[in-house]
């Protein structure tokens, strides 16, 4: 039982960067934009978060810098795809390549440095309850922020007027435009939000999970976050679940090895990817349901026709 609690704690740590990135991208896709530059924004957030935390000694400033950096990267994507109407798939890939290169360049002076990891909170009494305490009341503040983000986004999309407008734009941008909503404006705002979330997700890796900088520290987690968005059928609660499921598979395969169960390591390392594919198949095979959920205008260019 103790081990199970420990494993679940590990899952939460491993999944939190994915939660941030996936929730941000979910909002972007709900608005009808596909930003494949998630990995690039995450890795830029990772270096910004680490460098600023190290230089200022403040996590708050560091995380904020990561969010701003992610948003700036997203605004570049937004300018190209929303204003200049470039192809979203190509622009997103370019952003990833650019982000990986630029972060490595910026990070040159920061390899070999280290900061104290962000401390976990400890709430009197609550954190000491067996099982429930360690699972619910003794994480670092960003874990709670990621959960709050998921809840907040769910509420925003379902219950607010702006959320409704955002979804309408993702469903049918021409109609939304005809009613008088600013398609480009809303999409830019969604992109900035998504970029900020991705930046924080990257910074979670470089300031909390492993407070250090090495090139390519995100190691493909941005792509996983993209898969999680599809897995979630564009619903925040399911995105949260998806991130924890992926984190769970990653952690469990490590534990399986620790117990000495005889499966080749490379096959185990394939597991998270194979499970993601399997889940994608399961949720998308019902054609009616997926097309009900998928934003109809996803990745389609919007231009005002006269």
């Amino acid at each position: 039982m103790d081990l199970l609690v420990l494993i679940l704690q590990g899952v939460i740590v491993s999944a939190t960067s994915l939660v941030f990135a996936a929730i941000g991208e979910l909002v972007v896709e709900r608005a009808g934009v596909l930003n494949l530059g998630l990995e690039g924004m995450m890795v830029l957030g990772a270096i910004a978060g680490f460098a600023v935390t190290l230089d200022t000694g403040s996590y708050v400033v560091g995380i904020a810098a990561a969010a701003v950096t992610g948003a700036i990267a997203a605004s570049l994507f937004g300018f190209l795809t929303q204003i200049l109407l470039s192809n979203q798939v190509a622009t997103g890939l370019a952003l990833t390549i650019f982000g990986l290169g630029l972060s490595a360049l910026l990070g040159q002076g920061y390899s070999g440095e280290s900061t104290e990891p962000l401390a976990k909170i400890h709430i009197f009494f609550l954190s000491d309850i067996p099982i429930v305490g360690p699972l619910m009341f003794s994480h670092d503040p960003l874990v709670y922020l990621s959960l709050a983000l998921a809840v907040g986004v769910a509420w925003f999309l379902a219950k607010t007027r702006t959320g409704l407008i955002l979804r309408a734009i993702g469903e049918n941008h021409d109609a939304a435009h005809a009613i008088g909503y600013s398609v480009v404006g809303v999409r830019m705002a969604a992109l900035l939000f998504g970029g900020a979330c991705a930046g924080v997700g990257g910074a979670y890796l470089s300031t909390v999970q492993t407070p250090l900088w090495v090139e390519n520290i995100t190691a493909g987690r941005g792509w996983i976050a993209l898969a999680i968005v599809v897995f979630s059928a564009w619903r925040p609660g399911r995105a949260l679940l998806g991130a924890y499921l992926f984190g769970g598979v990653t952690i469990v395969q490590l534990h399986v090895q620790g117990f000495g169960i005889d499966i080749e390591a490379q096959y185990l390392s394939m597991l998270p990817y194979l499970v993601t594919i399997l889940v994608l198949v399961l949720i998308s095979h019902d054609k009616a349901r997926i097309s009900l959920n998928a934003p109809a205008c996803l990745a389609k260019p919007f231009f005002v026709s006269s």
């Binding site: 390549i97 290169g101 490379q266």
Partner: protein
């Protein structure tokens, strides 16, 4: 407000001019970047963009590097035209190399002019088989091919690792994870002596020609275009969308697999875990840079190869970090995609006050 209106007829002239403008913009941005880094911008730009063109070794290496990029980019362009996003060519490349390489190793020391064609066939089939998974999942279960192809890339790279650690390991290699060197009959013939330019380049050129003919004169080229513009119209048009999905993924998978086999049987000469070096991803840029046209891809394959070779030279001669190459490629694609707007849309300025600020 600035308004963009899509042009009915894409401006042909601009289509060829915009990549050149993008190169110039990238060089300008690069100049700023090098100045910020405290490196001599003129020297850096000339080492990256000009020097490789003046040296026959660098030119031969550009051909070596461009060969897989052209092959893969060409295959991808069909799918991209039709709105089928295979971004996991890297995985198909890897499995192609694995399948073709396994044939070479199984026929070790077997001499014969048929060995190489057999390996090529295995490479193509390997790539196709890997691409068949997303094709099947998309047509049967409606699963997003972007993510499936990408996930399968990670799986393919791990699969190669398992194989060279295990069944395909060199028996005399002291247990290091690589296969034995391919024997003479399983190595691609060299095209230009004293270089690594191999016969695969001729195949890439032939593929460009075939693709050009298909897109221009074959009904499949037409179907692909229609489907890309409007999937629904494609259905009304009386041909099955599913068939286009399958065909596009088989073409891109097969060509990526062949490119993988060419790398294994050409410049590398064996199977190693680090065989996939990102050609599958770079080829996506190549395809866009070449505007999804066969001749354009041929040219853009060389441009991308140039940035790699030049980037290495800049590292050697100016001590620039290797990350510069990625930054450059990113900026290049950004400029191209941004400037593209000139060729595809007409800009209408209706409220100049806002436009003037911009």
């Amino acid at each position: 407000m600035i308004r963009l209106e899509p042009l009915k007829e894409v401006s042909k002239g601009l289509l060829y001019v915009t990549p050149a403008i993008a190169v110039i913009v990238t060089i300008l941005l690069g100049t700023v970047m090098f100045a910020v880094l405290g490196k001599d911008p003129v020297q850096a730009i000339s080492i990256i963009f000009l020097e490789p063109l003046t040296n026959s070794f660098a030119i031969s290496e550009m051909i070596v590097k461009a060969t897989p990029l052209i092959l893969i980019g060409l295959g991808l362009s069909f799918g991209f035209r039709a709105g089928i996003w295979n971004i996991g060519a890297e995985g198909q490349f890897t499995v192609g190399a694995l399948a073709g390489g396994a044939v070479a190793l199984a026929l070790h020391e077997v001499e014969g002019i048929w060995v190489l064609p057999l390996m090529c066939l295995a490479g193509i089939l390997g790539g196709m088989a890997w691409a068949a998974i997303p094709a099947f999942l998309r047509t049967r279960f409606n699963t997003n091919e972007i993510l499936v192809t990408l996930m399968l890339t990670y799986v393919a790279v791990l699969l190669l690792s398992v194989m060279v650690h295990g069944p395909l390991k060199d028996p005399e290699g002291l247990n290091f994870p690589e296969s034995r060197l391919f024997h003479e009959s399983a190595i691609l013939p060299i095209l230009i002596e004293e270089t690594r330019v191999h016969i695969g380049f001729l195949v890439a050129l032939a593929a460009v020609l075939v693709a050009w003919v298909i897109l221009r004169h074959h009904v499949f080229g037409y179907q692909v275009k229609v489907m890309g513009q409007s999937p629904r119209a494609a259905n009304y048009g009386g041909f099955a969308q599913q068939r286009v999905v399958w065909t596009c993924l088989m073409i891109s998978g097969g060509l990526a697999g062949l490119a993988g086999l060419f790398e294994a049987a050409g410049p590398v000469g064996q199977l190693v875990p680090a065989l996939p070096v990102g050609y599958g991803f770079t080829a996506i840029i190549v395809a866009f840079l070449g505007r999804l046209t066969p001749v354009g891809i041929l040219l853009s394959g060389f441009v991308m190869a140039l940035t790699y070779i030049g980037g290495e030279a800049a590292q050697i001669e100016m001590n620039l970090p290797s990350a510069v190459t990625g930054v450059f490629q990113g900026m290049f694609l950004f400029s191209l995609l941004g400037i593209d707007v000139l060729a595809r849309y007409r800009i209408q300025v209706s409220r100049p006050a806002w436009a003037a600020e911009k």
